[in-house]
Symmetry: C2
Subunit: 417 residues, 2 copies
């Protein structure tokens, strides 16, 4: 399987890209090679690395718009949890498919996912062809969050794992998973060489409860039980003391900034000013579409940069380039994949941007436009693992998926208000 | 000229809308009437009022991406002003056209504009068919900002004013316009029944300088010179004391919230918490695309709501409905037009939202989706003054405009870095 992308703009130069076996095998001028598939960008499209969404709960798309402008406790207890309790495997299958559809349309080629009914998610991800890290969730108070489930699933699913899907172990958070289970998860991850995906220090209450329960702050507690290492990807990381930031740096953990969700649920503000001084890898995430409500990393880059500027009263505190790297290179680093950059040997996870659209005009600085100018509408092609997932703005089966999902959910009273 | 919109969703009901002479003349079920133009929404599209952008400098789209992540002073003095000094009438004509293209694609049907070379803007607006309030700019230090120019232009342009264009008088700000000229502007506005469009209390420095120069805060100064009344539309309004908010309320002034620009340039945060307790009309604006960098009120709604939530540590401080009204009904009130709502007798400024797109799924609450779910990509039709400006996502001459603009500016070194 060879894909040849002709006349595409990379760093202001018109070049060709050859993709073989899911990887970029050649970059150069006038590559006239045989290929099974060809895209001619005619010098009118730029190529960027596919975006990497490092924290999401895709199937929560089913709850988008159900509960807005509410305090977190009410949002969770009155709106989200009662509905989540009724979710079926098939609901999650459809929810995941729909979320992936929206992510592909937003130029996302990899996502780091955490939700339950993992088998249903697995099926949806496989069908859609996107790259994903599927969290096997550990959650003490749910039978579907047990260690036994994780062991069984890891065994079962690894047998037909496509190159685009990997597992992570995903203990939900320190307040929903016991110390024993956290230690078990850490050991399981080590044994199977898995990444760990977890919520951390999202709310002030999490810190308070941790201080009460363990007489330590969350990161100190995790350090104490030997949980922390370079395989840990922590979402949110808002309520961190200087000491905790130091520990996370020392242990080479990866942090995920989720600006929209943090603002909408009033969780707090990611302490970028302190973190940028450290050698800490920061990635970007959308969080779930019930608390965002989009799955659009272009927006996340814009909102994430704006929030840090105003919060720190400093327009220079974060640059377009820095936040673009969070959404690409840094995500790839956290997930240990050869992506997030366009170089020979890297994964062919690529997005083509139509420079003839008004949002991309003028094009003095593509990175600046990507971050601040709402370029989602300029995405024309999305390629993942060398396969074309979107072409000319269209995804195969897109209409069919939405049509079937509408039919599936419209008659189901349990989803409505 | 009659336009019939069939099978469109309005407040969860499928209805038809008849448009005559630029106005909504009938709303009902199964209107089978003759019409020159027809749109069949097939029960798959919702109709919303066209969005109203209450503060913009459209032609600054030419500077989009030229200067990012800089302090305001450097941004203005090193990047923007030297380029603005070289702008020609023809540049502004093209810049305005391009800005309108982007606004239409974002569902904006009316904008309140402030920039110079008003005749060039006038031509561009007229050609594009959008509704606009064109500010005749007063600026002491520019010859093109003189009273004489304003008088001459008002005379000249009013002769062939289409129903979609009105003038405002636009003194730039209290720090760029003398007391005498402000008084002149107020009287000119009164005499010709014009609205006044002005920047106010955008930065802390504006207040400091005003205190130094006039021994009063900006709003107190304007009150003292008898400037304030219900015809005033003030952009930004960030640095207001309680006393100033009281005065603005007493004088029934209109305020424009510009969240993205305020965050990007670190101007400050609009004091919504204090203002919402008052009977003050608050509208929404994008500001110019050099400091936003989009002309997308959907984003402005989302970012504007998120910012108030996190700033006030209260997710209930602003609702989706409140911010949607800022972008529609409140804007119409400030601009004294019968728009921003879908009712018989109102202007036919309408936007159709394709509910079959993923971003609009599920559709539990359309207002919530409009504000939080990035629905720009779902806009299929934009109608202004009863005329279809965008159909099936396409604007007539769209490609041609961008092609010509690219040719026009690409060879011009003065625009590049």
């Amino acid at each position: 399987m060879r894909l040849l992308i002709k006349n595409v703009i990379l760093e202001n130069k018109k070049i060709d890209i050859l993709v073989e076996k899911g990887k970029i095998s050649k970059i150069g001028k006038n590559l006239n090679l045989k290929a099974n598939e060809k895209i001619d960008a005619k010098g009118e499209k730029a190529v960027i690395p596919g975006l990497i969404n490092c924290h999401s709960h895709g199937a929560m798309i089913l709850f988008r718009g159900i509960a807005e402008d509410l305090p977190l406790k009410e949002w969770l207890e009155k709106k989200i949890w009662p509905r989540e309790a009724k979710l079926t495997e098939d609901d999650v299958y459809w929810g995941t498919k729909l979320a992936i559809l929206e992510m592909i349309k937003s130029g996302i080629t990899t996502f780091n996912e955490m939700y339950w009914f993992e088998e249903a998610q697995f099926a949806a991800i496989k069908e859609m062809g996107i790259r994903a890290f599927l969290g096997l969730v550990i959650l003490d108070f749910l039978p579907m969050g047990s260690k036994e489930k994780v062991e069984k699933l890891a065994q079962k699913l690894k047998r037909n794992l496509p190159p685009t899907i990997q597992f992570t172990i995903a203990p939900h958070a320190i307040y929903t998973v016991s110390k024993e289970n956290l230690i078990w998860a850490k050991n399981f991850a080590k044994k199977h060489k898995l990444l760990i995906h977890m919520h951390l220090a999202e709310t002030e209450n999490e810190v308070k409860d941790c201080l009460k329960k363990y007489k330590m702050r969350p990161v100190e507690f995790l350090e104490k039980i030997g949980f922390l290492n370079k395989n840990c990807i922590f979402a949110h990381c808002i309520w961190l003391s200087d000491r905790e930031i130091e520990i996370l740096e020392k242990r080479s953990c990866h942090l995920v900034y989720n600006p929209t969700s943090n603002m909408k649920l009033v969780s707090g503000i990611f302490p970028w000013k302190k973190i940028k001084k450290r050698k800490l890898n920061v990635c970007l995430g959308t969080d779930g579409p019930a608390s965002n409500n989009s799955l659009n990393l272009f927006l996340e880059m814009k909102i994430g940069a704006l929030l840090q500027k105003i919060e720190n009263k400093d327009p220079t505190i974060i640059s377009a380039k820095e936040i673009f790297q969070m959404a690409t290179k840094n995500g790839a680093k956290a997930l240990r994949i050869e992506a997030g950059q366009i170089k020979v040997g890297k994964l062919a996870d690529l997005v083509l941007i139509d420079l003839n659209k008004i949002e991309a005009f003028p094009n003095y600085d593509l990175i600046s436009n990507l971050v601040y100018s709402d370029l989602k509408s300029c995405i024309s092609e999305v390629i993942c693992d060398g396969k074309i997932l979107m072409r000319d703005g269209k995804i195969e089966n897109e209409k069919e998926i939405i049509k079937r999902a509408k039919k599936r959910f419209l008659d189901d009273e349990s989803f409505g208000n």
